[in-house]
Symmetry: C2
Subunit: 377 residues, 2 copies
């Protein structure tokens, strides 16, 4: 039932950390992989060629935003997201459900699906497992996500169970509606909040349906790193070994390191680009905020150990100046640096696993970075 | 008294239109030349490498903005504007006077100079011929402009005369203060409003002082194209033949064509980038506003006859989508296209003059473009 043109190879393991390769109709994705977020069919403030040169092999686009603007029908007329946005590598689209719920656009939720009002013009939309599959078909993404309910945190066991069971019924409907389109892959999403029994039930359901890959949903929603890692201590191993595992919406560099250690293969997060637009730069020694006056005369590169185009050609002082003057180029240059930083970290992770040295790499990275505190400087 | 490393060659003339080459310490500038504006040490929303690939050989930066932020002292600490902003080709800086007066920051004007309050934090600054030369030295620009008073339009003959005479006294002080720094050039600025006698008096004064180049100031300040062309029918010929002539702040494509026809060699204008940020695109058939709903399903390039990176990879429909979603990439892509459009027009002008066909080129360009109406579509 899985898609022929899409498959996953595990090349090496260090403990539960995996080095892998996802083969898609639009080329390979080396895992562990980080997917920059291109919400509205653009990785904000960055050209596609710069996303490519940062090392990204796959990006994520948001079904919710695209179904509202420009509309899935229009994207389809342009031949799908790839020609529309000038990105030729793989694209993963989410289901739309997360934004409907998190943007509080939700109007009514039933067994059938969700009704919501556009946050732009208030008009009424319906999203069901079937319409989500149809919209993602129109977008022509390479990896499609099931519509699910991202269970809020905290939730009681009973609420989390009811929510997870709905997501599993929807997962079946997604699988059935998706069919077997040549070259496109469908991922199921495990729910169950922080309850091990529910995570196991969810995983069992998803294994029975079968998918091309499996996401771990309902994390990074406010539970904190410690609790997230507790769930990741058992959740990934409940999912099939020979399929990619994707931790949605994660995260900060130490979150990614910890999740790779626990067997996760794929990540996405707005952090590198959102931070880039607010002058927050990731460096090997933690993050720094370029708006700080102490950078005004600083002639060093953002990160002296970084080889990205921003660090090769610009000083912290110049970047500080751009942000002080609200010049768009600041957002572009720091977003590009941050994307490069993330991809360089992923490349470091992959290299370490390939050499059997993931634990050394992780210890060294976290020590240098300042453990889990992104804002320690 | 002029600078050795800086000189101007005239390669060919068609009537009064001139094909030339300015030699500078940072490379050659083919004329007629258009200078993109990098107000605060950045051509807004565009990376330097894209400014280069548009064909620009020189940019303009604004002394007023840079003396306020980050401050000329800081730019000097970074080695001047070139390393600060990652631009290795020539830079022309204006004197700061125009913004002081046009931004109504002016507090007091005397024979000595102007006192003004920063539009950013209200702090008090002084700008005199001597301080303007000093600030431009700190910025380390290649072409330095004299401090002058840009006579407002309309002005009576007496007001224009008094203003012009002050500018000429300041021009002498600029020349004297500037000295003869290796490789840097100083341009004088002709004033005199729309009065031929005053333009002649001003030109005579400037010729007597001697400069590396001569600007025509006090135009493009509301007098309209017809009146501007009337002045340009005589003003350029009052300036030395073998020095470059620069028409400040111009302009729309038909303004540039008409000024080249009348013997102008250099131009600067914010129009390509300012328009780019507001979704206004220049094309060979006039300009178009990409926010217009009629572009939402338009799969054509901005300009099918354009070979710029934006036109090679993006549709009008996608650009429309970016502006609707207020995505920064829209400003970047359209600004880059507009810069490319301007430089392609300048290359077309130069090519036509070199073949003795400037008038044919001008007629054809203006016919296709829709004469002087930028917004005819």
């Amino acid at each position: 039932m899985t898609t022929k043109a899409f498959h996953f190879e595990i090349l090496r393991q260090n403990g539960t950390a995996r080095l892998g390769l996802i083969h898609t109709r639009r080329g390979q994705i080396r895992t562990p992989a980080f997917m920059p977020v291109g919400t509205a069919a653009t990785v904000k403030a960055v050209k596609p060629e710069s996303v490519v040169s940062s090392g990204a092999e796959v990006i994520l686009c948001n079904t919710y935003h695209l179904m509202l603007r420009p509309g899935a029908q229009i994207v389809e007329e342009f031949g799908g997201l790839h020609p529309f946005m000038n990105w030729s590598r793989p694209i993963l689209t989410d289901s739309g459900g997360y934004q409907v719920m998190s943007l509080q656009a939700l109007r009514r939720m039933t067994e059938q699906g969700v009704e919501f009002r556009s946050h732009i013009d208030g008009s009424l939309y319906k999203l069901s497992p079937e319409t989500s599959m149809e919209i993602q078909r129109q977008l022509n993404s390479d990896i499609v996500m099931c519509l699910d309910e991202c269970t809020p945190y905290p939730s009681s066991f009973d609420v989390a169970k009811t929510s997870m069971e709905l997501s599993m019924r929807w997962a079946k409907r997604c699988r059935s509606s998706f069919g077997a389109p040549e070259g496109r892959a469908l991922f199921g999403i495990q729910q169950g909040s922080i309850y091990r029994d529910l995570r196991e039930e969810s995983a069992a359901e998803l294994r029975a349906i079968d998918f091309d890959g499996f996401a771990i949903g309902g994390l990074a929603v406010g539970e904190g790193q410690e609790r997230m890692f507790e769930v990741l201590d058992y959740a990934p191993s409940m999912l099939p070994t020979h399929k990619p595992r994707y931790l949605m919406g994660v995260g900060k560099p130490p979150d990614i390191i910890g999740a790779v250690r626990r067997g996760v293969d794929m990540f996405d997060c707005v952090l590198p680009t959102r931070s880039g637009r607010t002058a927050q730069a990731f460096t090997s020694k933690g993050s720094l905020n370029l708006k700080n006056a102490r950078f005004s005369r600083d002639q060093d590169a953002l990160d002296i150990s970084c080889a990205c185009p921003t660090c090769r050609s610009y000083s912290r002082g110049y970047l500080h100046h751009l942000f002080k003057c609200k010049e768009m180029l600041g957002a572009t240059l720091v977003s590009e640096h941050n994307l490069y930083f993330y991809q360089t970290m992923m490349a470091g992770i992959r290299d370490a696993i390939s050499k059997g040295q993931f634990e050394n790499f992780a210890d060294q990275f976290l020590h240098c970075y300042g453990e889990s505190n992104v804002d320690h400087q």
